[in-house]
Symmetry: C2
Amino acid sequence: MLQAALRSGAAHRRAVFEVFARHLPGGRRYGVVAGIGRVLEELERFRFGEEELAYLRDKRVVDESTLAFLADYRFSGSVCGYREGDLYFPASPILVVEGTFAEAVLLETLILSILNHDCAIASAASRMANAAGGRPLIEMGSRRTHERSAVAAARAAYLAGFTATSNLMAGHAYGVPTAGTAAHAFILLHDSEKSAFEAQIASFGASTTLLVDTYDVPEAVKTAVELAGSDLGAVRIDSGDLAAAAQEVREQLDALGAFKTRILVTSDLDEYAIAALAAAPVDAYGVGTSLVTGSGVPTAALVYKLVARETATGKLEPVAKRSVGKPSRGGRKHAYRLLDETGHFETELVTTSPGGVVPEGGVPLLHPLVEDGTVVGGEPLEAARARHREAIARLPQDALHLGRGYAAIPTEFA
Amino acid sequence: MLQAALRSGAAHRRAVFEVFARHLPGGRRYGVVAGIGRVLEELERFRFGEEELAYLRDKRVVDESTLAFLADYRFSGSVCGYREGDLYFPASPILVVEGTFAEAVLLETLILSILNHDCAIASAASRMANAAGGRPLIEMGSRRTHERSAVAAARAAYLAGFTATSNLMAGHAYGVPTAGTAAHAFILLHDSEKSAFEAQIASFGASTTLLVDTYDVPEAVKTAVELAGSDLGAVRIDSGDLAAAAQEVREQLDALGAFKTRILVTSDLDEYAIAALAAAPVDAYGVGTSLVTGSGVPTAALVYKLVARETATGKLEPVAKRSVGKPSRGGRKHAYRLLDETGHFETELVTTSPGGVVPEGGVPLLHPLVEDGTVVGGEPLEAARARHREAIARLPQDALHLGRGYAAIPTEFA
């Protein structure tokens, strides 16, 4: 595509690409913008090195003039987009990329890979956080997804409301708070459950979290409190009927005087299982598989479409395809969110009127992220996390229903 | 876990961990072993560098003696496992890791992340390849998954029967054949569909693949053959009712004398959609989203469990947890596949009898991969691809049904 466009000369035309979702897959009511920070980081180092160029030359993937273009590649255009942690709805223009066709088209896979993954995970995480109410959620899914996705998933989960992750690389790379517990292997390694608990308490003190379902739960809880006393930090239950088990363990802990000992539950939890535990005496949830796989929606269905390009006469003109069932809407977009009188989100307004007047009370959603190739929109992950919390509070109440449904607010085109 | 075990001394006990699946999620009838080559590559470079150690020290994640252990970390144990491309069934001991508890437990996340991802993708890819019969399949899903998962997914798809990938990094890193087509943006960029086709043919010759559904399909096919002649390589259809569209396009191409021009279809294909196109005049499939997300099963449900460990008296002893609904089966395993008289797979035999006699006609499934820390089981990706093709031919016929079902052969314990 690039080679043919370089040869025809069209590659140097100005072009505007837009990232959006035609729909919210899985009957979700809102999407969570996540991965913008990662896009900006990757954009800054997106280059074609000697090794890559040698591969492309050896395999005759592209011709010499294309190789020359790639060797000098550096994105010099502009990007604006929704802020991380904000919400999106069908047709929200999450990211708008402007540059020459050649430089902007090369970013498609990078941008979509990051956003499709991170938005899917954050959107699932947000539902889980809503279902958990104020109870802490620990992300523990690294083992169930690709080793690098795991790090990005931990970041996305944290910005959408999770409390911590067991992925230490996410702590190192993004400052996500970390937490972890021992596995059954640690218990089985020792000659008895008691000696395993002793070893853990000796190393971490009574405030540690002991795993109590390797053999017999009541027996383990009894041993745990005997060894750690009523200062025992927490116990973890990883199997069985979690609601019933939590109830029994709570009663046993209370009977033993361990009133402050917390109960952490894990075991294939998703937002529905978390919601079903709302009335159980659970203090925290550990979530793995369903978080890192987007709880049934592992990818966000975001696309990257050309919406405007320079004509032969130098004018920027809207373009749109007419493919059956998958049409696009031409023109560079601007987007605003309209609020009702109580401050709740009411409408997602998308317009092509350039530099249009902000509608009364309309909050502009597109912010500068990259200007002439320079990243200007970086921000701390904590800012995105705070923004997400605020956005959730402004959703209409029914947007937090877990069942399948329509977008929480309509998207209107002006 | 590691810190407490180092302190109790149990960390230095010999331990055996096993990777297996309790069940095949999604009602799949077989699993495909994939990612072994990636595990071996990563194992060789799995170290804790200055930067990682500084993070762990700064955040007080572990104590000084654990940091000292990590600084010197290098896996010195042994690994045996199923060969890549082979099949697995519930309880198949896909990988057996032996070493001290400390060195083996650290590998859990690395090994499971790789295998859970790659096996899930390969298992989906294998079903798609079966559904496609002999027609070529191109992996085009990079944009719909994390940027690094995309590369691993392309590798897994190729070993399970795909023909090529659009992911150039997978070509570079793993030698997967690459292929690509132009997107709608390329057509929209030009002043007309005709000038876009001209540009592509000028650069790649008549044997290129032209995308014909940006505006009007019959119009595009007419233009394409006018420009490229009857030597036009292929056309791609990416929308609408693909079976009907392929039929119409085939008739039009034939009427125009372009008998050899092939038809490539894309657009949210999965194994069911591919099967439904068996009678349509389609020459090749491009598959994206459903491939990289495992077609409904994005992770393989593989676990890494301690099955044996040294006692205080130096004897290796089987261990197993008794958690409700998630018990493990203790002891180091050996595995054989038994064939029927026609050479088809009949039974997966798993035994704990050490160095047991190979049952008559039983094919040993575990092969040495790492010995005393040195990788001995590397092999070219093509070998795994050939092994997979042979394994599929030996499955009982009903194993290729696409509907939900039970494992194609039973797992027996001796």
